[in-house]
């Protein structure tokens, strides 16, 4: 990796300093770093650029521990099962303070079918300056309780908890995460690709039934934040031909290139 690129990563992306007492271990080693398919080795010793997929250790020993700290063991397991089966990287989770079953303080309680997401749009400008954002996902414990621990992604044993987590994460990832604030191809913020697609086309053009072919729904075109969150959903769960069409709509080579690289 060239000096210039390393400097860029150091400046904008989450970097993990490995605890000297924790180095080594089975697998690719670094906390939360599952490695990249087709590549030998991994991140530089003691550092992580945030491009590997998060794994269990990210949440049990690494920086993700605080995100799920308030959950019970069973709830934490449900969250881990969902997130570690999505293409989630550390930079997608950065700036996410917690996933909790506690009611949102400003709402006072979580109604039976309600999940809340603390929208920190107003903090966006401070993230770059190190101001600690407090994005949090408040999820009804019944949803987490209904996620089957032996998750079967082929069968349909998944429940709404998975969809809710993915949807809410989509909001966070495409708005306030380190991914969203990282320059894309040396240009403007990655999230700008989605904002630009909304401002330049989706927002005024609106929904068209043929957009199902790129995995979207009518609700995706209701407002920009939903459009962006649903781009993440299609990246996670869309069929390959739908992902390809959405990439074309967004004017990127692929969703993997946009979200994953």
């Amino acid at each position: 990796m060239g000096e210039e690129k390393r400097d860029l990563l150091d400046a904008y992306e989450w970097v993990l300093e490995i605890d000297p007492g924790q180095k080594g271990g089975p697998g690719s080693g670094h906390w939360g770093h599952a490695g990249r398919p087709g590549q030998v080795g991994g991140s530089q010793s003691g550092r992580m650029s945030g491009h590997g997929q998060v794994n269990r250790e990210y949440f049990t020993k690494g920086p993700g521990k605080k995100i799920v700290a308030s959950l019970t063991d069973k709830q934490r397991e449900a969250v881990l099962v969902v997130i570690t089966n999505m293409k989630v990287q550390p930079r997608h989770l950065q700036n996410l303070h917690e996933i909790t079953t506690e009611p949102h303080p400003e709402i006072g309680s979580v109604s039976p079918n309600c999940v809340t997401w603390d929208n920190c749009h107003q903090l966006a400008n401070y993230v770059r300056e190190g101001f600690p954002p407090r994005n949090s996902i408040h999820i009804n414990p019944a949803y987490l309780g209904s996620i089957h621990p032996a998750l079967d992604w082929v069968g349909h044993e998944l429940v709404i908890g998975r969809n809710i987590l993915a949807h809410e994460l989509g909001h966070h990832i495409t708005t306030e995460s380190r991914w969203a604030l990282t320059p894309y191809r040396g240009g403007t913020d990655a999230s700008f690709i989605l904002r630009d697609a909304w401002a330049g086309r989706a927002g005024y053009e609106g929904w068209r039934p043929e957009y199902e072919k790129m995995g979207m729904r009518e609700y995706s075109f209701k407002k920009e934040s939903e459009f962006r969150a649903d781009c993440w959903l299609v990246y996670q769960y869309g069929r390959p031909h739908q992902q390809a069409r959405l990439a074309e709509y967004l004017d990127v080579d692929s969703l993997d290139e946009l979200f994953g690289e």
């Binding site: 749009h121 998944l158 969809n163 729904r217």
Partner: protein, 58 residues
């Protein structure tokens, strides 16, 4: 509380579909399952957006 399961186009034909939709309350976004009239064939193209109320056998 009603339990929901992921929409399965093969198993849930004819069932009421729900979609996760957001409602904004100031700076807070609350996401709730909302019943929708989306045609079955249309929903089958993007099943990850939909859930149905859980019934015995789901």
């Amino acid at each position: 509380m009603v339990d929901f399961v992921d929409f399965d186009p093969e198993k849930h034909k004819g069932r009421q579909l729900y979609e996760l939709q957001s409602r904004e309350m100031g700076e807070i976004i609350a996401t709730v399952p909302v019943p929708v009239d989306t045609p079955f064939d249309q929903a089958a193209q993007t099943p990850w957006y939909y859930v149905v109320e859980a019934q015995e056998g789901d």
